[in-house]
Symmetry: D2
Subunit: 464 residues, 4 copies
Amino acid sequence: MKNKKAWSGRFREEMDPLFEKMNQSLSFDIRLYKQDILLNKVYSNELNKLGIISDEDLNKIIEGLDVLEKDIEKKGISIFTDEIEDIHMGIETLLVKKIGESAKRIHAGKSRNDQIATDIRIYLIDEIKEISILLKNFLESIVFVAENNLDIIMPGYTHLRHAQPLLFSHYIMSFFFSLERDYERLADSLKRISIMPLGSAALSGSGFNLNREKLRKDLGFKYISKNSIDAVLSRDFILEFLSNISIMSITLSRFAEDFILYSSEHFNFFILSDKITTGSSIMPNKKNPDSLELTRAKTGRILGNFVALFTVLKSLPSTYNKDLQEDKERLFDTIDTIKDVLKVNKIVLDYLELNKTIMKNSIDTLSFATELVDYLTLKNVPFREAHHIVGKIVMNCVENQFYLTSLTEKMLVSYDKNFKGIKDDWANIETFLKRRELEGGTGLNSVKKQIDYAKKKLTNNFTI
Amino acid sequence: MKNKKAWSGRFREEMDPLFEKMNQSLSFDIRLYKQDILLNKVYSNELNKLGIISDEDLNKIIEGLDVLEKDIEKKGISIFTDEIEDIHMGIETLLVKKIGESAKRIHAGKSRNDQIATDIRIYLIDEIKEISILLKNFLESIVFVAENNLDIIMPGYTHLRHAQPLLFSHYIMSFFFSLERDYERLADSLKRISIMPLGSAALSGSGFNLNREKLRKDLGFKYISKNSIDAVLSRDFILEFLSNISIMSITLSRFAEDFILYSSEHFNFFILSDKITTGSSIMPNKKNPDSLELTRAKTGRILGNFVALFTVLKSLPSTYNKDLQEDKERLFDTIDTIKDVLKVNKIVLDYLELNKTIMKNSIDTLSFATELVDYLTLKNVPFREAHHIVGKIVMNCVENQFYLTSLTEKMLVSYDKNFKGIKDDWANIETFLKRRELEGGTGLNSVKKQIDYAKKKLTNNFTI
Amino acid sequence: MKNKKAWSGRFREEMDPLFEKMNQSLSFDIRLYKQDILLNKVYSNELNKLGIISDEDLNKIIEGLDVLEKDIEKKGISIFTDEIEDIHMGIETLLVKKIGESAKRIHAGKSRNDQIATDIRIYLIDEIKEISILLKNFLESIVFVAENNLDIIMPGYTHLRHAQPLLFSHYIMSFFFSLERDYERLADSLKRISIMPLGSAALSGSGFNLNREKLRKDLGFKYISKNSIDAVLSRDFILEFLSNISIMSITLSRFAEDFILYSSEHFNFFILSDKITTGSSIMPNKKNPDSLELTRAKTGRILGNFVALFTVLKSLPSTYNKDLQEDKERLFDTIDTIKDVLKVNKIVLDYLELNKTIMKNSIDTLSFATELVDYLTLKNVPFREAHHIVGKIVMNCVENQFYLTSLTEKMLVSYDKNFKGIKDDWANIETFLKRRELEGGTGLNSVKKQIDYAKKKLTNNFTI
Amino acid sequence: MKNKKAWSGRFREEMDPLFEKMNQSLSFDIRLYKQDILLNKVYSNELNKLGIISDEDLNKIIEGLDVLEKDIEKKGISIFTDEIEDIHMGIETLLVKKIGESAKRIHAGKSRNDQIATDIRIYLIDEIKEISILLKNFLESIVFVAENNLDIIMPGYTHLRHAQPLLFSHYIMSFFFSLERDYERLADSLKRISIMPLGSAALSGSGFNLNREKLRKDLGFKYISKNSIDAVLSRDFILEFLSNISIMSITLSRFAEDFILYSSEHFNFFILSDKITTGSSIMPNKKNPDSLELTRAKTGRILGNFVALFTVLKSLPSTYNKDLQEDKERLFDTIDTIKDVLKVNKIVLDYLELNKTIMKNSIDTLSFATELVDYLTLKNVPFREAHHIVGKIVMNCVENQFYLTSLTEKMLVSYDKNFKGIKDDWANIETFLKRRELEGGTGLNSVKKQIDYAKKKLTNNFTI
């Protein structure tokens, strides 16, 4: 029989090539070759301690793996022959080719079940660190933009209708605080990712008395898995990651949606750089915010990856099932996607121009209506009545196209006598801002405090 | 400026390379090159009729496109330079290189918006036809297996507990009828896919008076889109396809789950071929049903693709938005996946062996309890009372480890006098089957009729 | 033992009350009481034909069920006692109370497995008919609004940037054509819903020789299920419905998104009626488009229902499993939701006011850039060059704040000599529209044809 | 105008009743009445400090709210009139009815936007505490069952095929370690939930200088929101919760799947209590594991809720949009579902019986094949060769129906001379277990350590 699978001993017939194609994971788990080589080095060292691998063999193995790492880096998948199922068998096979029989000793007492679970955890820890750096870079751009546009005024929206004025710096800082939580979720998740499964073998634990504590240290894990069954079958750490990135993508979809709106002709608050926009194949007039639209769209892709793996895992029996092979492509895709998104949106921010005058002038005077309500409230009119009175004033303005701020004391008093004595500056933007210096409010000092907090956080606490 | 984008006229600055990487779709929409080339041929012909492309230019274009098609087939993506955004610009650019200025005329009056919508519809129609052939092949295997194992008896399950006996042929034919509906859904969807958007241009319709009826015929569509806005923005036809395949994958996940169970040591009804099973890297005893586990898992992947595109489309404003670019990778992945799954599971069926004796002997005699109830019912005992009486008999069997079929008339009469005169064959498998010859029942003739229906359907009505 | 469950014969212990609460479905499947009563009448009639129910009993049963139907209509769930599991047991139990022993005969030869599958199909057919009527009503409003605003001009958008002008009537009719396909999907699905499972019993077919053809006619189904296993376990028809409504909700989310934008202060194209807007508890100035925001949000809810049931069904083994009980709440919720959405959005349309002047005046003159390109193309300039030349003109306009339409022949000729002789009306909206009278274009006659088509379709072909 | 909405000042026309029905949230947010009343008390106190509410009014308000809380507890939704939109307006309206004008003062300086975000966070914190107690109870049952069945042996499975033996206690403890992480996720999430939005008002911060630190303390929050925009629009904390419960439900779906399998006739390892099983309406023989099937199915429902809210939130612009109203029903449903699931599955465990002999006897002797491989490996045969040799032995056993453990030294030596001298106990279960005493392995002492860890954890660290 031509079948060269490492496990072919008990099989009479070869795999059908159609199944072989579906079954193989090498085309995507090749991404884990560094992690797998690291693991094999550390593990071979332990087998040496246990007397299963001789000193001489160990040297050959380590050197062989070193060469192999460079070879794969250079040649990629072309280095492997067709019948290779996955990166583990791929590396073992190449190593046998390179150093001979010594290589046949490296799989003693481990299984691909604990090996892949270990590889992917090492990989994911590294990627989370990279993502957190990209996120930090993006947040630094947010803070930079906020600080450099501290007192720019813009309309604030609820239900996409003018609500109350905002400082642009306050607005843009809202993304900092959303994304800070997205960062914290990633940081928290490491506790559950940095757990070493190695030593669990297929499901019941290795038959050799491995020093798992030593393996843990050498591989850079924080914890050791406490139950071998749980260790080989659990993919909750990938689900948690996919979910965390999904939730982050929701924040970024708000960013994209806002920026698409605010840079559209009808708002015209923001000017987007040519660097991150595109044109049309037919209409020479177009300058399209493709970077932001793609950012918005990636939210769907990222959710899809979570749902895909979730549904894969639903109602799988204990312990390892081949279904778990589906975890990797979804994971890799989410990682690649969020990294692109974070990089590109940093450019969006870094080259953002504000149409400051348009932003300020867009503030609808009706946005100060709540100030009138508060005025009456402070004059002891029950809030709900004050609200109703001002509602009538607003209706009058809308129907007769008055500016709310142009109403004189006299006109106001005709609605309610408590307006008697009201000063002109009640609906002044300065007054409005000053009244909102409580923590989290859109007052200038409040925003400065937010920025100070952010800068400190970015300096001290943003290393995973 | 080095920027060579076809739309670069109004831009001062070049795209950032990070954004360029995120923005390009060539790496995946290259898959549509044949469709795009066909479209360009047919469309250039129409521009020729309108006097926009001369006869001489047309000849050059057609010949150039023919050569290009072969070039791309041979060299793949390596034929394109880095700044190419998508397959449309790719083909236009290469054509310009090959035949010069004539190629710069082909985009008149069309937009990438209607072009991509047209390309992808042509592509999808072809793929649905291929999928329906693979599905037909799989169904033929089902019918073959049913016909060749017509009278094999096995336990039927509800709640994964023994319920009533079944003919294996009846059981396996249940997949035919599920998948027949999955096929019908695909067939129905063609009405909504075979609609030509070409002529809709960017959103408002082409400025040239194209003969859309001629374009339709030449491209092989059934219908012409009736509203240009709807034509360029709608992706419901892709959602419908992704959903149809998702629903089909649910049927296949049942197939996989059953086959995993029935081929496990505890059931031992089915023997799976070595061709579609694998071994373990550590445990030499293992023979694992990876093909079926992957089939089961692909259900998640396929759902993920639907959810991804659905979420992308949610609340997009009119008309075309770049978000739509996310449709293709999810579509292609679902197409590739279902084709693999159908091919591999046909092999599962074609090499299936049955442990017929074990299947038959596994029938729990308690599975005939309903026959006793029916017996009493026919003796005028109200059904609900009969059910309760037999429930007591069952409890006695369970607690005392009797076979239900070993109960004598006397013992039965002690529960209810109406059992007086009951013959031994009341709980005989032959009697059981004969009592179920109504349409859709598990009786032998009923199953033969099902098979006859299926064979006729497969012969006459399975061409999309 | 107090346990009064109909199937309690073989059980020693009672259900735990916590499980009883989780297990019961009466609180939601009570919605199917009419369908269940109808089924019981038709089925009892058949049992009478088979001699299992006497004429006298049959009369009692039919009369009892008639009374029961009215009782349930009046008193709702309060009519049932606590231990009732589901509507089937509920009706049988109440009937026994009302008419005594005769009622204990009605369940002979059927199972809750085929009964619920039959009930829910009858129910769903009815609901689809209702939904299609609501959809028709909504489409009639679209056509009405289109016809009454035939020649209103507005900007058309791609990437939420001004692209080319559109007729409002063309724009609004785009929803007709999207929703027409959504309707067709529902219509097509009926083939797969109107299949009667009754007679399949638990899984293997009824032990009594039922006349299924007669049952089919009496229950109003088009087809009879052909395989009892498939009949009791398949829920693909519910998935298909949930998916069809999901896809419809995507169209409606576009409607909502557009209307939110177009009625916002920055666009100010549409005025929404007070009837479907709300105010703020704190800001008296607000008038919020809550109806549209909820419409947009319901898309998520409706998708969630599809995903929920899909994931429930994934990898269930044959045949019936209790998991299937989860189908109903998700189905009912989607039905209720889409009906509300269709009703409320019809009001949105019926009371819509257009700010026609603002719509027209919002057209950016750059939107005519493609006309200039086409002009050059007709003068034999290769399209791609023409596009580039006009791109330069656009850039000049943007940077110097010119109106594109204010460029004189002389200025144009300075970009390209082929502009020599160009008339003033090249970028006239009238010319623009006239150039787009091809099928599906935004030309006036093209839109009239769309409306004519729609009116005919609504009159003749919109009855499921 | 009859319109009694609190914000009706600027509106001419009443809401359409169809929209009113769709718009209202009282039917579900009534669940938050206690939280809303608490908030109003604490907030009124603060308004009193600021001089906006007099001492006398404050007393009336507090007393009124106390009475109201009892009224709502007693009468439920019937206490509210039809036009009430939500719980906030409901409570204000009832309070006005009860105590008159004083009640009209309570909404000064707050908005429903910050109010609902505060209410739901208080509510969710409480519910997470309840869920963590239910989870703790379930985990205690796991540990109890493990400790009381410490040395029961069963087959372990990969790919649902016999792999290697396991201690049942090791197997059942695997759920402890999975669920421990599910618990930790909930615990971690509290940092992001226990943040008080109150004081953010509609979006820009309250116009009154509220002492937010005092409000925080009185409401029991850990933190104060730092940016008012982020505070009113963010629902990531709900997504995180829905995701955390989803991930937990995957663990529980494995529990359910295993228990369904292991209690089926073919495995017959577990006997399920009558308390959590059901019968069939037609087949008196059935005893169905409905509790476990429903547990498995709820996974879909819980995922659906996450997907629903996720899709709702995707690409919402800043700041509050009515779409957010869709968060509550999905949240409540997930909370109710997981609580039922945890309660019922505790009963499953507490009344579980083991068929210990069957479990032990089911161990396939081939499960010891890896021991043979390890034996050779220790004799210096390279692992991969040893694996291949034993594969051949296994094939021989399978094809000739030998027990692997019945092979004599002589027979083994015929495969490889290194088997010379092998003792009989190499494939003994005792040896197998002893070889797996490394941390996390299935050895008896290893499992004891796991149990010790779990007991300590449950005693000390399980209070959120």
